[in-house]
Amino acid sequence: MTAIERVATPAAVTAVERQGEARTGRTPVWAIVLRYVLLGVLALLYISPIIFMLVTSFKTRADAAGIPPTWIPNPFTTQAYETILTASGTPVLIWFSNSLIAAVLHSALVVVTASLAAYPLARMRFRGRGLVFGIVIATLLIPPVILIIPNYLIVGNLGWLNSLVAIIIPTAASAFGVFFMRQFFLSLPAELEEAALIDGANRWSIFLRIILPLSKPAMATLALLAFLTNWNDFLWPVYVLFSADVQTLPAGLGTLQSANAVRYDLLMAGAVIASVPVLLLFVFLQRFIIEGVSRQGLKG
């Protein structure tokens, strides 16, 4: 069994946890206290910048620039949000919907293409399989920087510059996605397909009716990772989107900063708006996100 399969198997996970508990049993009290103190202090320091961003977004302009900085807005106001959402030149709602549309379509495209490609790579025998898989994995080692200039020209030739298509499609060929789905398909028992093949089902219906329904957790994890990556992407949208009304939220916030360098109340309100969707996803689906990330490491 591979490490990835073991991580993915609930039985193995609980076994690991049980081992952990057994070890904890022998840990001296002072060590437990020390661990909680260390982790607690670190956690408090760690999360306070995010809390301060949230606090500041409910401050007035003067309060946000006040010394000493305060942790409670006085007065509490939603003025920054109202200003940033209504001011001309900062179409935050449009940026928000651009980001949402792009991230949803992008992650759907990643999941569909990666799942389709991973299936034959995991389950069929054909000439060239090893070569295709090898090339795809090898591109994980290509530093993204060499793709920037040529892709800009390719996107330009396709007429996609300054449109959302430019941030939905070119980054969707995810080598990690193919690897991730292939690894999951490999963990499904082969008997499922053999039975269906003998019953005369073709590959397409096996894929749709047997493999995909079993793969929902893996697809959800991949979709989530692709969504987060696309929502947060910065360099590419900054350079390929130039009109205010096609920008994504992160790229828009970048321009907002140069225009409102000292309006930290506005900047923090914008940052909060950009954070809310990803933080909500994280709070509710952190198991999937963290599992996906740890499997990213186990591919080594």
Binding site: L116, I149, I154, N232, K299
Partner: protein, 340 residues
């Protein structure tokens, strides 16, 4: 969770249908039934994207770098290696700013990578044992990573503000210098950029380490205890060898991420002071996509890639060297256990 139980249910029903399953299995996953183009139909959408946006550009980039390729000019004359030669010619326009940016990337990488290898390991070790609240702490340390660099950058630009920032205020409370220009002077800007990056991405490496730590068989620790090993000896002889394959991945991954640092510099310092903190990828993007000197920018990106590859090879070599040294039995078993 539910997948596993459903797979189980399926598998128990399966044998009736696959009563002559042995024959089917010998035929593999039935290549006879499969039309030769079926796998390629499945691969088609992905390979289309992959070819157009990964394979073609990685070759097209070389072509661009061999031309005087200005987006705004109709002619793109072939200049051979001139774009590359210019980068090494101190009198050329782009050479100085390029090497300043390469130095910026190098400084950032040299300071951020060791911290991002060691601190996340420390956090992962603290969380390796199962205890109430572990998942909560794991989530807290990981949370900043889900925020994008734009949010992280804006947040820290505010916190690091010379005059009204929280960082200088608290430093002052502790009687430390409270007027450091974190975003506009070096070396303070480097401390800020590295610090913010560590804060932002520590959780990512921690999670990978934690998964690897959980994969080291408990028996190895028990055996070490029986042999009278103390905590340090266990760490040295069981934990570290067990982590070795993951360390290669984390090192390369962190190196490439650090070498591609862009957003922090773009938002927090805006390259200031002067162009001191403008990183290589920032310079490449500005040269190619703002000034449209794409031939020069493409050449720069290959020079950067060349350095990255050399460093990656060195990392692989370093980690392989260590593997070849004679090691005690248990750790090598741990290594195999940790990966495949």
């Amino acid at each position: 969770m539910s997948t596993q139980t459903r797979v189980g249910a399926f598998a128990t029903e399966a044998p009736t249908a696959a009563s002559d399953g042995a024959a089917a299995r010998r035929a593999g996953v039935s290549p006879t039934r499969q039309k030769p183009f079926t796998p390629w139909l499945f691969l088609l959408p992905y390979l289309l994207l992959f070819t157009v946006f990964v394979i073609v550009p990685s070759v097209f980039g070389i072509w661009i770098s061999l031309h005087e390729w200005d987006y705004t000019l109709p002619n793109k004359p072939f200049v051979g290696g001139e774009n590359y030669v210019e980068l090494f010619d101190p009198n050329s326009v782009n050479s100085g700013s390029f090497w300043t940016s390469m130095r910026a990337t190098a400084i950032f990488t040299v300071f951020s990578v060791p911290l991002l290898l060691v601190l996340p390991l420390f956090v992962a070790l603290l969380m390796n044992k199962s205890f109430p609240g572990r998942n909560f702490f794991r989530a807290v340390y990981f949370a900043p990573y889900v925020l994008g660099v734009a949010v992280v950058g804006l947040m820290w630009r505010y916190l690091l503000d010379n005059n009204i920032g929280l960082v200088n205020y608290y430093l002052g409370l502790f009687g430390l210098p409270d007027d450091t220009a974190w975003t506009t002077s070096v070396p303070a800007a480097w401390v800020a950029l590295v610090g913010v990056t560590v804060w932002w991405t520590l959780g990512f490496n921690s999670v990978i380490y934690l998964a690897a730590l959980q994969d080291i068989p408990a028996e190895l620790y028990e055996a070490a205890s029986v042999d009278g090993a103390n905590s340090w000896q266990k760490f040295r002889n069981v934990t570290l060898p067990g982590l070795r394959p993951i360390l290669t991945f984390v090192t390369i991954n962190t190196l490439i991420a650090s070498a591609n640092m862009f957003g922090q510099s773009y938002i927090i310092t805006q390259g200031a002071p002067g162009r001191e903190t403008r990183t290589a990828i920032y310079q490449i993007a500005e040269t190619g996509l703002r000034n449209f000197q794409m031939g020069d920018a493409a050449a720069m990106s290959y020079v950067l890639t060349f350095f990255l590859m050399v460093i990656s090879v060195i990392v692989f070599w370093l980690f392989r060297e260590k593997k070849e040294k004679p090691m005690p039995q248990e750790p090598s078993a741990a290594r195999e256990g940790a990966l495949r």
